[in-house]
Symmetry: C2
Subunit: 165 residues, 2 copies
DNA sequence: CTATATTTGATACAAAGTATCATCTGCGCC
DNA sequence: GGCGCAGATGATACTTTGTATCAAATATAG
């Protein structure tokens, strides 16, 4: 009766939840219902969600999430490295690189909203070098590249007007 | 009586205002009082300001700024490229590179709040390359690198506790 | 100086995020 | 399997950040 019926029990979902379980054990953190629920919801959305979109989806399931609890849980999952916040759109996505800590870059299509998570060695090296050159010991690197993806460029080509964004 | 008395008429201030004047003429935009005021305030603060910090400072001068007008003006100055928004701290800074359009990176010290604006050719090239590789025509690149600056590392060295942020 | 298209100021509101604290619960231990 | 309790949650209230609307004011071309 309280089960999440409209969240598909796909292999991807099982994998993500298992990963969360492992990470919690590894870090000596508790695996709780809201943590599972946020992860599963973010996974099944398959796109970035604002904290309040996420809140609405969670409430549809369990009825007792709040803004505070959603933000707390998102902070937790971010600390584990399995959720990222897109600063430029104030939204949250599931991390696509499930192995270890890493520096990622996001490419965001301003037409369709598609987000690609990349792990580019050259950018990692260049930012590290810049940090060193300017005397900074870096511990966080936000790289968000916005533009128009291939598909959108193709499909919008004939309707293109210079003024439009 | 209505003049901004506690804003120093430094050469830097004159230069920035002249630049704003030029840009407005160039783009066929109006040079208005709030636009000058926001620029001058941001300049004299010499650090990133949140929109509401800026609002408070402006109100101390003219008494009739509002959140809406501040955001409008910031959007305007950002479109001209002379103000940047730091996504990671939700604050606004005057651009340090006053010549032409450009891609910049920010280095932010999480201890003292110092912000350095860089224009690194390697990062520019690497991000462009990544965009091409993934089929994105990029038009905006947010690069914000957070860490601890040289001065703070030096001065905090003896008090350092691993747990502290 | 005048005409007018833009911008502003005022108001109200929406969205995003945080603080506090009593209650509940995951999980290590028996 | 059940107990105890550190740590997490839910509830509430609040702060910060950002937008929409529209009548009144004003920067600039002529």
């Amino acid at each position: 009766m309280r089960k999440a019926r409209n969240v598909s029990p796909t292999p991807a979902r099982e994998r993500a939840l298992r990963r969360l379980e492992d990470l919690c054990r590894e870090h000596g953190e508790r695996l709780t219902r809201p943590r599972r629920a946020v992860l599963a919801t973010l996974l099944s959305a398959r796109r970035p969600l604002s904290a309040y979109e996420l809140l609405d989806l969670l409430r549809a399931e369990d009825g007792k999430s709040t803004a505070a609890s959603v933000y707390r849980t998102l902070d937790f999952l971010r600390a584990l490295g399995i959720v990222h916040r897109l600063e430029s759109t104030r939204s949250f996505v599931l991390c696509e690189h499930l192995e270890g800590p890493h520096w990622v870059q996001f490419l965001i299509c301003r037409r369709c909203g598609q987000v690609v998570e990349a792990e580019d060695e050259r950018i990692a090296a260049a930012t590290e070098r810049l940090g060193q050159r300017l005397g900074f010991a870096l511990d966080q690197r936000i790289v968000e590249l916005t533009g128009v993806c291939e598909g959108c460029r193709a499909s919008a080509a004939c309707h293109w007007r210079p003024g439009a964004r």
